[in-house]
């Protein structure tokens, strides 16, 4: 396809500058986003199995609730009934910071013994999955603007640039697209290889990327966008106001749990209940959130859909599933969320989103490398700006990966020394991240790239080793064979160890035998 030269050059500039400005934060957002596809599994993997109490059969749950409500004031305010075998049947918070992420929540787990006596166990919660989600949403940028996280706004802004980069990238690829689409030329030098794979990944996953760019802009700026819509709607409210019932109930008036199960079966088809969570039980705005799964449907999130209702009257309040034919906007909106969160296609869908997220991270990383190649000069020492960008790229990308991997590795050992687990995760992440960033600027990108990939490989290798040690050694008394149920994480770590080791070898080869007039030569 022919496109005028000046248009190509214009959009090449747009692509280059939007890419280089937004690339690094988006790299973190993408690879951490990949991990959030398995957020619940990661938390489960990191929590000692001994924290969870054994499940009870459904017919005993009402008995369990009655006994728990008799003993605990906190349970009377709100509690959660879990239906999966890996979790305790009933939990509530002894201490909770409110909405959002809090690092020192304390949770009570409750179950019934074979004789029907109440057994409880109080443990600090493990927030590793949520912390990775936080990293995904903020790229690790701390701080707040109003009630919104600064990092979320930064990623929202980066996503506007990312959208521009996608459109401009496609435009200036058009003339050569058909000819070179599937050609990944290895024999024309490293530069060609990176360019071809950058283009291939970009074009193949373009719909995914457009969806992600769009939804991140929405997530970051929805408040502002709604404010504008208020003008459009005039005096009409965009949201219906929730009516608060001027009646005070108490938790002892709750109907049996089978009532909710029947109600869900009546409202939906093919959904199974994951958990039922009661909150604000003794206020005028009591609520029950029922989390339901149906992998055959487009779910709002990969962790499921939800239905909110009044726990005493069962009056429906809000649902992410459309309940009638007329609610087509509910399903449209749910599908937008679903397309971001990978809430469709079941297990395969999740793994596909995991891979596409990693490919997205690759897109930003290779984009930065291409920027460096384009500005390369035919001399051994490259320009100051080039060296700075190379150090920054290696420091931020590999630093952030290593920081997460080290945190995963540290998790079981931190439980062993009785550290405040969630605070330790945060400290560990930032310590490693900044250490790598500094290392990269002190020793230069070429050396750091090799060293960091080797360290990442080694750390990844140590994760499954730690798991093996934990389930076989008596000093890790909190871990038993159940800890092996989430072995996918350990196996993945092993695969990534191999990938990064191979990467380190290739980088080393380039450093010693590759192009001499390059930032990567040693």
């Amino acid at each position: 396809m022919r496109v005028r030269g000046d248009i190509l050059r214009t959009y090449q500039s747009v692509h280059t500058w939007t890419g280089i400005v937004a690339g690094l934060v988006l790299f973190i957002g993408f690879y951490a986003g990949s991990l959030t596809m398995f957020e619940e599994e990661i938390t489960q993997w990191a929590t000692p199995p001994s924290h969870h109490l054994p499940q009870v059969t459904i017919d005993k749950i009402d008995n369990l609730i009655t006994k728990a409500l008799d003993t605990s004031e906190n349970a009377q305010q709100g509690f959660k009934i879990n239906f999966n075998d890996a979790s305790s049947p009933m939990t509530w918070y002894e201490k909770k910071g409110g909405r959002g992420l809090y690092l020192d929540n304390v949770m009570v787990h409750a179950t019934l013994s074979a004789q029907g006596d109440l057994i409880t166990r109080t443990e600090p919660t493990n927030e590793l999955g949520d912390l990775i989600d936080m990293l995904h949403r903020t790229a690790g940028i701390a701080g707040k603007v109003g009630h919104e996280n600064l990092g979320v706004l930064v990623l929202g802004f980066a996503s506007i640039l990312y959208f521009l980069a996608l459109v401009s990238g496609v435009i200036f690829l058009l003339p050569t697209l058909v000819k070179t689409f599937f050609s990944v030329r290895k024999n024309k030098g490293a530069n060609r290889f990176w360019l071809d794979s950058h283009n291939l990944v970009g074009v193949v996953s373009l719909p995914f990327h457009l969806i992600i760019a769009w939804s991140v802009v929405v997530f970051a700026f929805h408040d502002v966008l709604y404010d504008g819509l208020d003008l459009v709607y005039g005096k009409q409210p965009i949201f219906e106001q929730a009516k608060s019932a001027p009646v005070n109930y108490s938790a002892s008036q709750l109907p049996p749990i089978s009532t909710y199960i029947d109600k869900v079966n009546e409202l939906t088809e093919g959904y199974s209940i994951k958990y039922i969570e009661f909150s604000r039980l003794s206020t005028q705005r009591p609520s029950v959130a029922i989390s339901v799964m149906n992998t055959a449907e487009m779910m709002r999130n990969n962790t499921g859909d939800f239905i909110y209702m009044n726990p005493y009257t069962l009056a429906p309040a809000f649902s992410s599933i459309s309940m009638s034919e007329d609610d087509y906007y509910v399903s449209y909106v749910a599908s937008f969320f679903s397309l971001h969160f990978g809430g469709f296609g079941g297990e395969l869908g999740r793994w596909l989103y995991f891979v596409m997220g990693l490919l997205g991270a690759f897109l930003f990383y290779s984009g930065n490398l291409l920027w460096l190649e384009k500005r390369r000069q035919k001399k051994p020492i490259q320009s100051k700006s080039n060296r700075f960008m190379a150090n920054l790229t290696i420091g931020v990308c590999l630093g952030s990966i290593l920081a997460v991997v080290v945190t995963l590795l540290a998790s079981k050992w931190l439980y062993l020394i009785n550290a405040k687990i969630n605070n330790s995760y945060v400290t560990c992440y930032y310590l490693v991240f900044f250490a790598v960033l500094i290392y990269s600027f002190v020793f230069g990108a070429a050396k750091s790239a090799i060293h960091m990939q080797k360290i990442i490989a080694l750390t990844c290798l140590c994760i499954p080793i730690t798991t093996l040690v934990a389930i076989t050694t008596p000093i890790f008394s909190q871990w038993n064979l159940n800890a092996f149920s989430n072995s996918a994480i350990d196996i993945s770590a092993l695969i990534f160890a191999a990938i990064f080791y191979y990467g380190a070898l290739k980088t080393k080869k380039r450093a010693y035998f590759g192009e001499r007039n390059s930032i990567w030569a040693l």
Binding site: A213, V218, V232
Partner: protein, 99 residues
């Protein structure tokens, strides 16, 4: 194809084009969504339509911004985008007046 003279080529004018694309792109998106919100399927009160409308604002605005760099000069970008805004808002207010 003959070579373009320098006057015929796209002028960079990055800052003004970016500003025009961002601001007029957003206002244009609101204009289209306003028509859709009042007169589209379901009217103003359909369940979750408010959310749907908020979602579709940003892709319209982003596509307008993306293609703003095709205007030859910054002045043309401003003039054309402003006119598009005036036209679509006129349609909206006309429809409101008629109904």
């Amino acid at each position: 194809m003959s070579r373009l003279t320098s006057e015929q080529k796209i002028q960079p004018h990055w800052w003004v084009k970016t500003f025009a694309g961002t601001i007029f792109g957003l206002t244009l998106a609101y204009a289209f969504v306003a028509i859709f919100a009042w007169f589209g399927p379901g009217g103003l009160d359909a369940p979750a339509k408010g959310q749907f409308n908020m979602w579709v604002l940003s892709p319209i605005a982003l596509f307008v911004l993306s293609f703003t760099y095709l205007f030859k000069t910054a002045l043309k970008a401003v003039v054309y985008l402003l006119s598009a805004n005036i036209i679509v808002y006129s349609v909206f207010f006309l429809l409101r007046w008629l109904s």
